[in-house]
Amino acid sequence: MSPHRAHQRRFALAAVTPAFLLFTFWVAWPAVKGFYFALTRWDGLSDPVYIGLENFQQMVAGFSAEAGKSAKLFPVAIRNNLILMIGPAVLILALALCFASAMRSRVRGASIFRVAFFFPNILSAVAVSILWMLLYSTSGFGVFNALLGWLNSGLTALGLAAEPTFKVPVAFTDSKILAWSLIPMIVWTATGFYMLLFLAAMQAVPETLYDAARVDGASPTLQFFHITLPLIWDTVVTGMVFLLIAGLKVFDAVWVIEQQQSRPDSNTLATLMYSKIFNEYQAGYGAAIAVVIFLAVLLFTLVTLRLYRKEALEY
């Protein structure tokens, strides 16, 4: 190795070392410690006590039929996360693809729609949650309940219903149904982003393919399913994985709407973890939940990489 090259290597090493040390000290080491804390009983204040896999056993025990309500916290949080992963993902992907196709075919007012759809995405999660809390409110300020009230009055006035059709106020933010109530909020917030993502992918598809399909008499629907969708599949998969991972990590919306109170029926894994660590001082159990979230995200990432390998299509 020439002296110049050795010199360069030493400099590169010196430049990388501080960043490496910072990463090790502030990211890698706490993560390793996090794994260790998951194997302890620790209140976050005194010294942790090693208990092996007890925290994980406690989680699994919640799935048994005999488990009481308070033991079922973990399964309920998983259920809520599944609702928040699958529900928004299905709706957002369908809507975003529809809107992106419409934009691509240059419907009238496309640019206005593009801005309008994307706008909620630039709001912070807390702001969006507060906004939807007001929409859902059962107080005099609740927009949806006011609409339902007017609908009741309208139907009664028109003679279409003898009594109010909807029992208002509807408790949209009741803990037992909160996960379902969050789906429209997430769809409203995220659809614009995925629409732009898919639109960008669609615009990269060569126009000649559509020209050829049109010559062969393919309808717009057939063009979408046989040309557009297969050619943007990579992007769709990416979007799907983003949405699933986002659903797994939902915290802000639940925490804001539940007023920073942990409730057994509305917890997600993230709120349960936070509550266990910071409200109940069960930092060991909280760390175990964090490990579960980490492993789940890792699993989804690996699945994505696998899907990429299998489905990549080129033109």
């Binding site: 040390l21 059962t138 109940e280």
Partner: protein, 464 residues
């Protein structure tokens, strides 16, 4: 290297960067002592919750304390800082064994005290007060104010304010409709019916915060059955929640809330519910002393806020004047703070009569120091609160909420919400609460304090 001065070469740059990084890290970890300490001047650190009450009063008190010590020839330096998330900054420092000397961060007293992290203030409390020569510092506090902060005889935290859970109403609205304050529970129910007939909801309720309903339950329980049965639950005696009178209290509460809480109240936040009250869509609301401060800008001009306590029951065994109340916004003193003695001294100064009076004037609340909240210096609303507190036969609180946070979050609050909204029968409510507490009793890892004595007060004997 080209373009680099020989004095500031690459090696020196890297070495300096590493040095600065290590120094910052060590400083951050609290391993270096401050300059003031090195000069031989004791240094006290105070960490403040920078919330609605602000920090202006603290600043003034600290300046006066420093001047006072300098005048005595015992100079001291006080480093004080505030943050809305002070708890997140103090917690890791407790773990590192380098906490501030005193802090009002809302930390879990019942975790810290048994872990030996707190500093006993008994020597100061049982010594002379700062500016009332005929009293010990302990004697200057309102009755019951220190109760929640005493662990095995050692008081390790000092409350700045005194909170009472009471019922609020608007005098203007009541006068307009000719409604009178109830003197018995059945009169209260009659009043609620009248309010409903006027097209107004009788009670707004902050359903997303079960704390408000908790105070309601314990008030009713005490009025019906007396303080001894309440304290059986507070001392987690087996079967205490299954007592027929505890179940009867649950039944009364449920019967009341399902009829008179505003529609949709169970999913309202505190601001939503309190706005319903301010906008006169609900005639009454249960809340703490802070309501006036919190909603100051929301009351209509002609709103005349006043308060009362849950009325007595005909034939009830409990005190009709007992109030669910306790000291709040407590300053904790930390054993590992480095200068806990000076921290205690600062607290004694801070909660002197004169400083407490200024606290009341600054933030319009009830001080935990007796005589500090003076009628001539406060508004009519706070004066009404003061009357309730002064007339209280005794005060008591639900200590289980802070003692057993897991029971609170997983058992008590969800079950209480189900009770208030009529989703669970009173018997089932009692069974769930008792079963949850039984798990606590059997769990050796959960700290359980000694049974606490009955509260002090003239009315206790008659309320047994």
């Amino acid at each position: 290297m080209r373009g680099t001065s020989p004095k500031w070469g690459r090696r020196r740059f890297v070495a300096s960067a590493c040095g600065a990084l290590s120094s910052a890290t060590l400083q951050g970890c609290g391993l270096f002592r401050s300059a003031g300490e090195q000069e031989g001047v004791p240094r006290v650190e105070m960490a403040i919750f920078d919330g609605g009450f602000g920090m202006a009063w603290h600043q003034k008190v600290v300046e006066r304390f420093v001047a006072h010590r300098a005048a005595l020839g015992k100079p001291i330096r006080v480093d004080f800082w505030g943050d809305p998330r002070v708890i997140d900054k103090v917690r890791p420092r407790i773990l590192r064994g380098a906490p501030p000397d005193i802090s009002d961060a809302p930390l879990p007293f019942w975790k810290l005290a048994p872990a030996g992290a707190l500093f006993s203030l008994n020597d100061w409390l049982d010594g002379p007060s700062f500016d009332q020569s005929n009293k010990t510092w302990r004697e200057t506090f309102l009755r019951g104010a220190l109760n929640p902060f005493t662990y095995e005889g050692q008081t390790c935290a000092i409350p700045l304010t005194f909170n009472a859970w009471i019922l609020w109403y608007d005098k203007t609205l009541f006068e307009k409709h000719g409604w009178k304050l109830p003197s018995t529970f059945s009169e209260w129910e009659t009043l609620c019916e009248e309010i409903k007939q006027a097209g107004i909801a009788p009670l707004a309720y902050q359903g997303k915060y079960p704390y408000y309903g908790d105070a309601l339950y314990w008030s009713v329980f005490q009025r019906l059955s007396g303080i001894r049965k309440v304290e059986r639950c507070q001392n987690f005696e087996p079967g205490a929640f299954l007592d027929p009178e505890a179940i009867e209290a649950a039944r009364v509460v449920q019967s009341f809330t399902t009829r008179y809480f505003q529609e949709g109240a169970m999913t309202m936040s505190h601001t939503e519910a309190q706005l319903e009250f301010c906008n006169r869509r609900a005639a009454m609301i249960p809340c703490g002393v802070w309501l006036e401060n919190e909603m100051r800008n929301a009351f209509p001009k002609d709103f005349r806020l006043s308060c009362f306590i849950i009325p007595r029951f005909e034939g009830g065994k409990g005190s009709e004047r007992a109030v669910v109340a306790a000291g709040a916004q407590a300053f904790l003193a930390f054993r590992d703070g480095g200068r806990p003695e000076e921290g205690a001294e600062l607290l004694r100064f801070m909660l002197s009569l004169e400083n407490s009076r200024e606290w009341v004037k600054t933030v319009s609340t009830v001080s935990s120091i007796e005589g500090a909240t003076r009628r001539e210096e406060i508004g009519q609303t706070l004066a009404d609160v003061l009357t309730l507190v002064e007339n209280a036969a005794f005060t008591f609180d639900n200590r289980l909420l802070d003692l057993f946070p897991t029971w609170r979050n997983e058992v008590w609050f969800p079950t209480l919400e189900d009770l208030l909204s009529g989703k669970i029968k009173p018997e089932a409510f009692a069974r769930v609460a008792e079963k949850g507490l039984e798990r606590i009793r059997r769990n050796p890892d959960v700290y359980k304090p000694q049974p606490r004595p009955l509260p002090q007060g003239a009315g206790v004997e008659e309320a047994l």
